[in-house]
């Protein structure tokens, strides 16, 4: 089938198989490889993107389901001038990443989290990111990054 999905403000129209997963559509048809695949059971969240503004695991959405909808990936987060989104900036400032593989999904999940809860507590950040696994950071600095991005003081 032919699907048209607005990704980061640009509409991508491609012929795909019905079974094509959104994550593969984004990576292969749209050529946007920030979004990663870390598992095969919807556990890890490395593929998290925003679908009409809500965070979803794109490995568990069919491209067909996203037809006519809008998707934001990490590549679409910063402005045209290359200005970093506050969450992107904070991840670097707080050393919230190491290998960088969970980072795109983690940042998208954090953006969504702050959308719903602009001033979360540390515990709320932890609960809000439960769907995103990281093997490198032990989460501590990721929590710091989200607190930083929310404009709150980072209590280490």
């Amino acid at each position: 089938m032919k699907v048209s999905i607005e990704i980061n403000g640009t509409t991508v129209s491609e012929e795909v198989e019905d079974r094509t997963l959104l994550v593969h559509f984004v990576r292969e048809q749209a050529g946007l490889t920030a979004t990663n695949i870390g598992c095969d059971t919807t556990s890890c969240g490395a593929c998290t993107v925003l679908l009409d503004g809500e965070s979803v695991k794109s490995c568990t959405v069919l491209a067909a389901q996203a037809d006519g909808h809008s998707v934001t990936t990490l590549e679409g987060l910063h402005g045209d001038g290359g200005d970093l989104h506050p969450v992107q900036r904070a991840f670097r400032e707080e050393h919230g990443l190491q290998c960088g593989f969970c980072t795109p999904g983690m940042i998208m999940a954090s953006v969504s989290l702050l959308d719903h809860n602009p001033k979360p507590t540390r515990q709320e950040v932890r609960a809000g990111l439960e769907g995103n696994l990281c093997r490198c950071t032990g989460y501590h600095n990721i929590v710091n990054a989200v607190m930083n991005a929310s404009g709150q003081e980072v209590q280490r």
Binding site: R19, R27, N36, G38, C39, S43, R92, C99, H140
Partner: protein, 784 residues
């Protein structure tokens, strides 16, 4: 400039999604491979029918063991001088083993075609329990090895058995404990994969791959595939975590290479999570019987250990040749004892190969877990406080360099200071008071306090003693300063997130006074970098870090000669301050490294024998390992009704000598502590009696989330390594090595009122609940 907190250079691309990982590589005409895997743990292959798969319109090739036999590639050497089947020919030896490889236009089609391959198996009885592997009637797994009649791999020992027995004979107290370090898996977020392209015109093979050791892979491909080494280029791009999972060569890589040879096109193979967990390098799986001897007042006299090591169906363990049980013999830990002995026996079972992985520093996870559990068992038996018992037996600073009873020469340490600091941060005395109070009132969850004090041994290693497949464990570095004073550093180590692009620039910056931003660090491309053995065993800072300091100092010495020519003074009259050479007694008269760099490339007349330019190379052969150490304290709350464990606090004091970038060190520790919680509380790769893998996905193999991890509380002491050029020790694996014992000791401390002295990891709610019912569950086998 130089050492200190500095944000990472690599983050600029990662936070924008511009990292390039293997699966991001996309070449013109690229095909996609998928592996057909065995559903059986042990079975004879009767026939493989690929005709339906070959007829699939999108399939370009189907490769079987038979295809590979024709190329002499059906088997490949492992890092332990054994062989491993690339694609099974005679029989399959573990569930998930590679049987066939399909190359198709896209990965969906490749997966479809796997379903079209018809393999007839004749099931054989499997060996699942390592403790039964050497029984006389155990099925023989390795019928491929000439004359092999059993499942025995090796016996290895260290220490002095007679002397140890003597010490044990006169001890007041001997505490013995069986313990299993269960089979777990490093599970990096990015799985393993490769894109192989044999250019039919140039005959050059390029392999983009998830490798922690690109140069070693190049040499192995040359040996395995018979291609000349200069016609092989291995590129390790950005790697989404390694944790030891990405050291060896996996069958999928070889299949991708063969796929490219057969089709003439680039072939990509990326495994999925289940494949990663079921078939790539596992970690641990040590069945240990430990004994500790002491006087009645708590002076530890000796440690004696027997280990049964489950290595799976092929001995693919990654470790230096002379160390079949890795560095397990550092099991005497941080204590001043009189004698020690260990004996390790390795056996084959019908499971995936591996063993050394997951930040183990070559089996030091097992060694530290063993001794730190034994000390707690002894404390339990003596009725002593575990902190007090440790403090009484720790090596003293004046004993370094200290030669352990199993022959390791610890470089430096101030153990009591680190333990005191951890106890201060934790408020140890108050914690014990709180614990007493809560026990008295009986309200709420049980509280447990666990300690682990560990000594690591990282930075393999001196090439006289340490090689992998005959390749000595020295690492090269090359440094070039460009005419405008910017520099490029080329390394053989390979970051998988540890921040090498930043920290190695900081080492050069510290030595030469060039800003880290002006230093490009190149790694991961064998055409671009000097030979070396890669990153694992926390060896980057000890070995490549040493190499980097040495090349920078060589450049500095060359700069001195150039500066003396510029200033028309003798080199002996020059003095260095960070970033410039100046004339002694005349600080205004000097030349910056940038000015010197330009002059070194100019028409400046240089002394005879000095060729100009500003560069240097070095192969660093470390004189010894480095021995970082740490004191960890974990506080848990345990609900006795449900067995639920909540890690309330975790205090970690690490000493890795000089800290190049404290921010990065802390991040390394954070990550390792999370791994420790994962291993202690939730991770195991269990098998049923038929050899079915029961932990083959993230639904069953649990990774800690942000919710299970507390906010880590870190401390530090600095005891430099005297033999290292900048006094730095490795740190990457310390927390993974040190933390599981702290968590387990804490949980068992909480269960003390139930008379529980030991329970095996993972301490899941079920395991904790059963332990409190005095019926501990074995965790290696799902069979109860």
């Amino acid at each position: 400039m130089g050492f200190g907190r500095m944000h990472r250079k690599e983050d600029a691309r990662f936070i924008r999604g511009h990292g390039q990982y293997v699966d991001d590589v996309n070449l013109p005409g690229m095909l996609h491979g998928a592996v057909l895997r065995s559903p059986h743990a042990h079975a004879r292959i009767v026939s493989v029918d690929t005709s339906a798969a070959e007829a699939h319109p999108k399939v370009k090739a189907v490769i079987t063991g038979q295809t590979l036999e024709g190329l002499n590639l059906a088997w490949m050497p492992t890092l332990s001088h054994d062989v491993q089947a690339v694609l099974a020919t005679d029989k399959v030896r573990f569930q998930g083993q590679e049987v066939a490889f399909v190359v198709a236009d896209d990965h969906y089609a490749a997966r479809d075609a796997l379903e079209l391959i018809d393999v007839e198996y004749e099931p054989l009885p499997p060996v699942v329990d390592a403790r039964r592997a050497l029984e006389p009637d155990a099925p023989v797994i390795r019928t491929d090895i000439d004359g092999k009649r059993d499942n025995h791999i090796f016996d290895w020992e260290a220490g002095d058995a007679a002397r140890t027995d003597e010490v044990f004979a006169r001890a007041d107290v001997v505490s013995a404990q069986d313990m299993l370090y269960p089979r777990v898996h490093p599970a990096p977020m990015e799985t393993c994969g490769a894109v192989a392209h044999l250019d039919p015109i140039t005959g050059k093979l390029t392999v983009w791959t998830t490798t922690q050791a690109p140069h070693a892979h190049r040499t192995l491909y040359a040996l395995v595939a018979g291609l000349p080494e200069h016609k092989i280029r291995v590129i390790s791009p950005d790697i989404g975590g390694g944790f030891g999972n990405k050291v060896g060569i996996y069958p999928g890589y070889v299949c991708a290479v063969v796929g490219s040879i057969v089709t003439g096109k680039p072939v990509k193979w990326v495994e999925d999570r289940s494949e990663n967990l079921m078939s790539t390098s596992f970690a641990r799986d040590y069945h240990m019987h430990g004994e500790i001897a002491a006087t009645s007042d708590g002076k530890i006299l000796g440690v004696r250990v027997k280990v049964l090591a489950d290595h799976g169906a092929f001995n693919g363990t990654a470790q230096p040749t002379k160390f079949p049980a890795g560095f397990f013999s550092v099991f005497t830990g941080s204590y001043d004892i009189e004698a020690a002995h260990c004996a390790v026996t390795g056996v084959y079972t019908n499971k995936a190969p591996g063993g050394v992985a997951y930040a183990c520093s070559f089996r030091i996870t097992e060694a530290v877990y063993l001794v730190e559990r034994l000390v707690d068992v002894l404390a339990y038996d003596l009725g002593m406080d575990p902190a007090e018992l440790r403090m009484r037996n720790l090596l003293r600073p004046e004993q370094f360099p200290y030669v352990s009873k199993t022959g390791w020469e610890y470089d430096s340490g101030d153990y009591p200071r680190a333990l005191s600091q951890a106890m201060d941060i934790a408020g140890y005395a108050e914690l014990r008071e709180e614990q007493k109070r809560r026990a008295a009132t009986g309200d709420g969850p049980l509280m447990g306090i666990g300690i682990s004090f560990f000594t690591e041994a990282v930075g393999a290693g001196p090439r006289k003693h340490m090689d992998i497949l005959g390749l000595g464990m020295a690492d090269g570095a090359e440094l070039r300063v460009h005419p405008t004073g910017k520099a490029v550093l080329r390394l053989s180590c390979q970051s998988q997130g540890q921040g090498h692009e930043t920290t190695f620039a900081q080492i050069v910056a510290e030595e030469l006074g060039i800003s880290p931003d002006d230093i490009e660090v190149v790694h991961g491309d064998t055409d671009q970098t000097p030979f070396g053995l890669g990153t694992y065993g926390s060896r980057s800072t000890p070995v490549s870090g040493g190499a980097t300091a040495v090349v920078a100092r060589r450049v500095r010495e060359r700069a001195k000669i150039v500066a003396s020519a510029m200033l028309e003074v003798s080199p002996d009259d020059l003095e260095w301050e960070k970033g410039r050479w100046f004339v002694q007694g005349d600080p205004d008269s000097g030349k910056t490294i940038q000015e010197i760099a330009l002059a070194a490339h100019s028409d400046l007349e240089l002394p005879d024998g000095v060729e100009g330019h500003l560069d240097a190379t070095c192969v660093y052969n470390p004189p010894n390992l480095t021995y970082p150490f740490g004191a960890y304290i974990c506080v848990v709350d345990v609900d006795p009704e449900t067995g639920q464990v909540k890690v309330r606090r975790f205090v970690a004091v690490d000493d890795c000598g000089v800290r190049i970038n404290p921010m990065i060190v802390e991040g390394q520790v954070h990550g390792g502590l999370a791994e420790g919680i994962g291993m202690a509380l939730m991770q195991v790769m269990a098998f049923d009696e038929d050899g079915n893998h029961l932990g083959g996905s993230f639904m069953d193999y649990l990774i800690p989330t942000a919710v299970e991890c507390p906010s880590w509380e870190l401390g530090e002491t600095v005891t430099p390594s005297p033999h290292h050029p900048i006094g730095a020790k490795g740190i990457g694996e310390s927390a993974t090595v040190g933390s599981p014992a702290a968590v387990v000791n804490a949980v068992l401390d909480a269960l003390k009122p139930y008379g529980v002295r030991h329970a095996d990891m993972p301490l899941t709610p079920a395991a904790v609940w059963r332990a409190s019912q005095n019926s501990p569950l074995r965790t290696d086998l799902a069979i109860t």
